[in-house]
């Protein structure tokens, strides 16, 4: 589903050159729930940015869903993000002037869905993330956990091939973090949704099928694990 070969991302030049990603090879299969872990500055967010088409690699190739995304122009990359990727940011990144429902159906509207369809899909997806009663709430009227669930709903609305989550629990307390992780795990399990999630919290490990550990821009370990049941 995702094949990255010799992915490099270098910032700066000469003596100030920083190799954020240093020849990463990665393969992600459909339906996996992958945790990308490592210390701050290890390159995990940079990898997620490349997978999310928010940044371009300095070298290497990246193929997502059989598309060599390095060859896409900006407009094509935007369309690719809209149709095939869902991205969840650390700080929710909702439009403060839009209600929960409007934030969610914005990407669908861009795809040309009618208002009636948008409303139906949004209500379904808000039910899925447990926020049916928050349809017309503005982000400022919701808790951090609720906002992040809206952000997840927004990322899922176009039924993306991959859900990318960049430390989605970083701004949440343990209880809300647990809710979010359980939600993402449930989506992965029930919808066979491929998920790549960046985290630096050790206790998150139990939710992942596979853990990629990074250090200094390189993958140090990449191992599948037998999940203990985190939902119990």
């Amino acid at each position: 589903m995702i094949v990255g070969t010799n992915l490099q991302r270098v910032y700066g030049k000469g003596s100030v050159e920083v190799r954020a990603l240093d020849g990463v090879d990665i393969e992600i299969r459909k339906g996996e729930f992958i945790g990308v872990m490592g210390a701050s500055g290890s390159g995990k967010s940079t990898l997620l940015h490349l997978l999310g088409l928010l940044d371009r690699p300095t070298a290497g190739t990246l193929v997502i869903d059989k598309v060599d995304v390095g060859k896409l122009n900006e407009r094509q990359r935007t369309l690719f993000r809209l149709n095939r990727l869902g991205y969840v940011f650390q700080d929710y990144a909702l439009v403060p002037e839009l209600t929960a429902e409007e934030n969610i159906f914005l990407p669908s509207k861009v795809r040309g869905m009618t208002s009636r369809e948008c409303t139906r899909v949004c209500r379904d997806i808000l039910g899925l993330v447990g926020l049916k009663d928050r349809v017309s709430f503005l982000p400022g009227e919701m808790s951090g956990g609720e906002q992040q669930r809206v952000a997840i709903a927004r990322a899922l609305v176009n039924n993306p091939a991959i859900l990318l989550a960049d430390e989605p629990c970083a701004n949440l307390d343990t209880r809300n973090s647990k809710t979010i992780l359980e939600l993402i795990g449930k989506l992965n399990k029930d919808l066979n949704q491929t998920v790549v999630m960046v985290s630096h919290e050790d206790w998150h490990k139990k939710y992942f099928d596979r853990i990629i550990f990074m250090r200094d821009g390189k993958i140090v370990t990449d191992a599948e694990q037998e999940k203990e049941n985190p939902y119990e």
Binding site: Y87, V95, P96, L98, L106, P107, V110
Partner: protein, 400 residues
């Protein structure tokens, strides 16, 4: 069809209705003020020009001025010519005049104004000087030994106040001595003083044609016949009509006669107008640009996020253009309301200028020009910052 525009409009409408109302209101008021600023001064200048034009017609020339034929100094058989002119369709009235220079002396103070001999009753049909008597009375057709003088010519007792040679504050009932071109000197009692606020009138003196003819020993002569027509604005056509009716004298329109004076005044005001318009526009550009630019920069992160979730930059740019258009439209409507109130007030209480009261004149072209200028500025101010922000890479925008 128009899917992008629909989404852009949806985004813009939500950002406007749920954004900061105070900032929005302030921005709209700024645009309204800029709009008023773009129109107000030019409309006052247009009012001044209208005032000068009207003064030329009402106090100096009427609509047309007939003057002696080529190589002739005076018009003879004035009554016959007037009858001919009065028969021309569109002509309301005519008034013969004989203008000459004369020296007027009052208690040793001497000045040489234009002395205009008029037929008072006819003059009333063409000009409105008779309505501007501030002291004493207007002349009658049979008056002899009486003179009417302009306020500027009469002057002030304290001559330091006067900027031109005057008669030192002469009053109604006093006698002045007039020496004509032919050397004849006569005493005249001041019958009235005129104040029309038109310099060309208020610095003149007037006697009856009957009186002048007795001085010059002429009869039925004039060097001007003023013509009042039914409508103002078709003087060129009326001139042609008069020529077609066989009038062989020189025919001038009031615009021809006041051309130098009006051209220099209008020219000066045009320069002021152009400078003021440019300054107003620059202020408009800067203000609108800054307001929308700050708004866009403030939402830089949001723009990055919208791009990250797959919203095309063209949709984002269009949403900012829609916002700018909304601000422009609201500002223009508010500006129109402000302007309307201002014009109502100034029409009821006109500004008092040296030439008289000036009411602003709102020309449609001026409003259209102001609206078009603001529209273009708003479009640029909506487009440029959002275009610049969406051009930078998504991660930089998201990081703020």
């Amino acid at each position: 069809m128009f899917e992008e525009e629909k989404v852009a409009f949806f985004l813009a409408s939500r950002l406007i209705t749920r954004g900061n109302k105070g900032t929005l209101l302030l921005t709209i008021m700024i645009i309204a003020m800029v709009f008023v600023n773009l129109i107000f001064l030019p409309s006052i200048i247009a009012g001044i020009v209208v005032l000068f034009n009207q003064q030329s017609i009402d106090y100096s020339y009427g609509n047309l001025v007939i003057e002696p034929r080529e190589n002739q100094l005076v018009i003879t058989n004035v009554e016959e010519l007037r009858q001919k002119i009065n028969r021309v369709p569109g002509v309301v009235a005519t008034a013969p005049r004989y203008t000459s220079a004369a020296t007027i002396v009052n208690k040793g103070k001497s000045t040489t104004p234009l002395l205009i001999a008029i037929s008072p009753d006819d003059e009333k049909q063409v000009l409105k000087i008779h309505t501007k008597i501030i002291s004493g009375d207007y002349l009658n057709d049979g008056d002899t030994g009486q003179i009417l003088i302009g306020k500027t010519l009469a002057g002030n007792k304290d001559q330091k106040v006067d900027r031109t040679p005057t008669l030192g504050g002469v009053e109604v009932g006093k006698t002045v001595e007039v020496t004509f071109n032919n050397g004849v000197t006569r005493q005249y009692r001041i019958k009235g003083i005129i104040e029309s606020n038109s310099f060309g009138v208020d610095s003149n003196a007037f006697i009856t044609r009957k009186e002048l003819e007795s001085v010059l020993g002429t009869k039925d002569t004039a060097n001007q016949i003023l013509v009042r027509t039914k409508t103002t604005g078709n003087e060129d056509a009326m001139r042609i009509t008069l020529m077609q009716y066989g009038i062989q004298e020189k025919i001038w329109t009031w615009q021809d006669k006041s051309a130098d004076f009006l051209t220099s005044i209008v020219g000066s005001f045009d320069i002021i107008n152009v400078i003021s318009t440019i300054v107003s526009l620059v202020i408009a550009v800067v203000v609108i640009f800054i307001v929308i630019f700050i708004n866009t920069v403030y939402r830089r992160k949001q723009i990055g996020i919208l791009q990250a979730i797959g919203i095309d930059r063209s949709i984002i740019i269009k949403s900012y253009i829609f916002q700018a258009l909304f601000i422009f439209a609201s500002g223009t409507v508010a500006g129109c309301a402000l302007l309307f109130m201002l014009l109502q007030y100034l029409t009821a209480s006109p500004l008092v200028f040296p030439g008289g009261p000036v009411a602003p004149v709102l020309e449609m072209m001026l409003v259209v020009r102001a609206i078009a200028s603001l529209l273009i500025v708003s479009l640029i101010a909506g487009f440029l910052p959002s275009w610049l922000t969406t051009r930078e890479d998504i991660l930089s925008a998201i990081r703020g």
